[in-house]
């Protein structure tokens, strides 16, 4: 089953106007007016206008009478569509190989096999919503197994992101209102008259009378929502896309055959890229199957690449994930993000030691699911758990490291564990301590190393102090323990002891 993300932009027309006209204050109610002959009504309203009681479909004159200082702007569906198209192309480059517009106010995409590049579905959705908000667009996103379900959930929920787990589609959509079925308004109205309120009500009754009364549309929409009928997403393609494809007269299915054609496509793509002086940053392999469904594999690279072996490897690792079904009729390979690539001589001197470029390895590791690669870098903080940050594996090497004046343990507990100690205050190391039920006598100790709280981060750390000791027990096991507080002033900490790490 696919994983379909539906993005809903509830206030796209008003958000677009605000973006182009920054003089509009966010508090001013703003509505977009559509007209047909002499009739004028509200086609879209922003949050401020909605809070004042204006509704979509309300006559413009009434709205004007109700709200003072209402900004009314004529609707421009073409401009809205252009914005939506731009957003869709952006989503294509960022999130998934299979993205399409879902007009008038949505984007639909299949992120099966692509969410790992964003760190999983949860991070992907929240990141998507946050980035849209950063562009001044209100958005809600839902992920489910079908277009119908994701579309309905994104438009009925009040939460910003919803994830419907695999196999739970039916449970998630049963209680949604009929209006979320993407049916014509008249059909929904007459269904309501007949006493149906939710999708579940409609799904529970026999299909034949419904079809007789309303035609096949109702049944089709239900099947699409529950995933009984495929609803392929026809992916949007930018005009200047570097894309190569291969159609097969006879559908293929064997992994070896797929692999053969994939490496051919990669070679073709690289030739195209050479012509344009580009290197690929993100490449999509789209598999069109005979049953009219699409499967896509996306591979990202850390820097522009035009290396045939490298690119082939990125896809070859995952060819086994392609389910050929009844056969594959078309393969297409596109460089979704391509950047200028300048060929450079790798070794400038024969004497210099050749440094191996590890970017291809990082790409291979990064394109596999279930793992993250990163480097660590120092942060200017004395608090041990804050002194290390994760950075991208390909981040620039700045040679920074930690100050080496105090010993640090190679293993740090995720959170300090409380220990019971016998110790003299204020600055003596413990005589003995009990950790995880085992009592240890302290043979030798070093310390205290005083670490102050960072008041600029949290006001509760204004006076906080930790006194760290290196302690060694009878058998030579060395631990890093600390006392919260300076041992004199109760304000500086609880004076409780904790074990924070293990020395070698």
């Amino acid at each position: 089953m696919a994983r379909v993300v539906s993005v809903f932009l509830p206030t796209l027309p008003t958000d677009r106007i605000r973006r182009t006209d920054p003089s509009l204050s966010p508090d001013t109610p703003l509505v977009v007016i559509a007209r047909s002959g002499s009739k004028r009504w509200i086609a879209a309203a922003d949050r401020a206008a909605l809070e004042l009681g204006l509704r979509i479909g309300m006559p413009a004159a009434k709205a004007q009478a109700l709200v003072q200082g209402l900004v009314m702007i004529d609707a421009d569906p073409a401009a809205d569509l252009a914005v939506l198209e731009r957003l869709t192309l952006w989503a294509l480059s960022q999130y998934s190989p299979v993205v399409a517009m879902d007009p008038p106010d949505g984007i639909i995409m299949d992120t099966e096999g692509a969410d790992h590049l964003q760190g999983g579905e949860e991070l992907m959705l929240s990141g998507l919503v946050n980035r849209l908000r950063g562009r001044g667009l209100a958005a809600r996103a839902a992920i489910a197994e079908t277009w119908g379900a994701a579309h309905a959930i994104a438009r009925t929920t009040s939460r910003e992101t919803v994830i419907v787990p695999r196999g739970e589609t039916a449970r998630a959509v049963n209680r949604l209102p009929l209006s979320s079925l993407r049916l014509p308004a008249e059909t929904v109205a007459s269904l309501r008259t007949l006493g149906f309120a939710t999708v579940g009500d409609l799904a529970a009754i026999p299909r034949a009378p419904l079809t007789l009364r309303f035609g096949p549309e109702v049944g089709r929409r239900l099947d699409q929502m529950f995933g009984r009928v495929a609803e392929p997403i026809d992916p949007i393609r930018p005009v200047d896309l570097v894309e190569v494809q291969k159609s097969f007269a006879e559908p293929i299915g064997a992994p070896e055959t797929i692999e053969k054609y994939v490496s051919r496509l990669v070679r073709q793509l690289c030739l195209e890229l050479v012509k344009r002086g580009l290197g690929v940053r993100r490449a999509d392999l789209i598999v069109h199957r005979v049953d009219n469904t699409i499967q896509a594999l996306r591979a990202g690279t850390a820097k522009p690449v035009r290396d045939i072996a490298w690119l082939t490897k990125l896809f070859r690792d995952r060819i086994e994930r392609i389910e050929p079904g009844f056969g594959i009729e078309k393969l297409s390979l596109a460089a979704i993000i391509a950047e200028p690539l300048i060929e450079a001589q790798s070794a400038s001197s024969l004497i210099e030691e050749q440094v191996t470029d590890v970017t291809p390895l990082i790409d291979v590791l990064g394109n596999r699911g279930g793992q993250r690669s990163f480097r660590v870098a120092p942060v200017a903080s004395d608090v041990p758990e804050r002194s290390v940050q994760r950075i991208a594996p390909t981040a620039a090497e700045d040679g920074a490291t930690w100050p080496l004046n105090w010993p640090r343990p190679p293993r740090l507990l995720a959170r300090p564990e409380p220990i019971e100690v016998i110790a003299l205050l204020p600055d003596h190391p413990p005589v003995s301590f009990t950790w995880r039920g085992k009592r240890r006598r302290v043979k030798r100790a070093d310390g205290p190393e005083r670490i102050f709280g960072e008041w600029w981060k949290r006001s509760s750390e204004w006076v906080a102090v930790r006194d760290y000791f290196v302690v060694e027990d009878d058998v030579g096991e060395r631990f890093w323990i600390f006392r919260a507080g300076d041992g004199v002033d109760a304000e500086t900490g609880s004076h409780k002891w904790f074990l924070h790490g293990m020395f070698a």
Binding site: E353, V355, T356, V358, P360, L361, I362, V364, L365, R368, G370, Q371, R372, S373, F374, R375, V376, A377, P378, P384, S387, V388, P393, E397, D398, G399, A400, T401, W402, L404, P407, R408, P409, P410, R411, L412, L413, A414, K443, R444, A445, D446, V470, V471, E472, D474, V475, G476, E477, R478, G501, M502, F503, A504
Partner: protein, 253 residues
């Protein structure tokens, strides 16, 4: 005893040279990474840790679970190589400032944090196969024979130094370390009371390094001083002026 070992090694070296000349000049040249400790290097064929091979290190005692000493020992070895280091693990409880203190620079190390142990094995193999890296490290609970053979072959092919830290979730699981693997050497690093200082305080950390198994060589036990700022270990001077060592319960050869 050391003298006997030394001569036998000389004979062995001669034989190895002969075999190498029979294999032809183009045969694979195996280089080693010496520890710089003559007694220790003498126990290892070629006089050091072989590149293009897999080496297993586990912690002894409680260290089998946290693997702190094993990690630092490995960190010291990796620090003395050149090139990037790939470090694959499932639970990231490594505190890098400690590794920086044995000379491993953070710019050199790429961590791969995996969800499952199988993914660690796959990434480890991928990195070993890649070639051109200083060392590839993996923290593993289990290392089955078949997997270790694959890894050993991958390391041989690319000539990369493969280092495995064996650490367990529970103390009882450490018995798994008795199972055979295809690794070229197997070590156990346990902590010992630190080197005595003339004043109060914790001295240089000391380890009992047990070379439990080494291909084409004999094992041994060494009391070593922990890695210094350049990742070097040294033999701990076993002199008499250490009253605290009299009650030590370790049997040292």
């Amino acid at each position: 005893m050391t003298a006997v070992v030394a001569t036998s090694n000389a004979v062995l070296d001669e034989l190895r040279e002969k075999i190498a000349s029979l294999e032809g000049a183009g045969s694979r040249k195996r280089s080693v990474l010496p520890f710089g400790v003559p007694e220790l290097d003498a126990q290892l064929p070629g006089g050091g840790l072989a590149f293009g091979a897999l080496h297993e290190v586990a912690g002894g005692g409680n260290g089998a679970v946290d693997g702190a000493a094993a990690a630092l020992f490995i960190g010291g070895i990796a620090a003395r190589t050149t090139g990037k280091v790939v470090w694959c693990l499932t639970r990231f409880d490594l505190f890098f400032p400690a590794l920086a203190q044995v000379g491993l620079h953070p710019d050199r190390v790429i961590f791969v944090e995996c969800d499952k142990e199988e993914t660690v094995l796959a990434s480890f193999e991928e990195a070993l196969r890649y070639g051109g890296l200083g060392a590839v490290v993996a923290e593993l609970v289990r290392l089955p024979m078949t997997a270790s053979r694959r890894l050993q072959l991958a390391a041989e092919k690319s000539g990369t130094l493969g280092l495995v830290i064996r650490r367990w979730r529970r103390q009882t699981e450490a018995s798994d370390f008795g199972m055979p693997t295809a690794a070229a050497s197997r070590w156990r690093i346990s902590v010992l009371p630190s080197e005595p200082l003339p004043v109060q305080g914790v001295g240089r950390a000391r380890w009992l390094a047990e070379l439990m198994r080494v291909r084409a060589g004999e094992g041994g036990e060494f009391i070593i001083g922990a890695c210094d700022g350049q990742g070097r270990i040294r033999l701990s001077s076993d002199t008499a002026d250490r009253p605290d060592q009299t009650d030590r319960s370790f049997a040292v050869s």
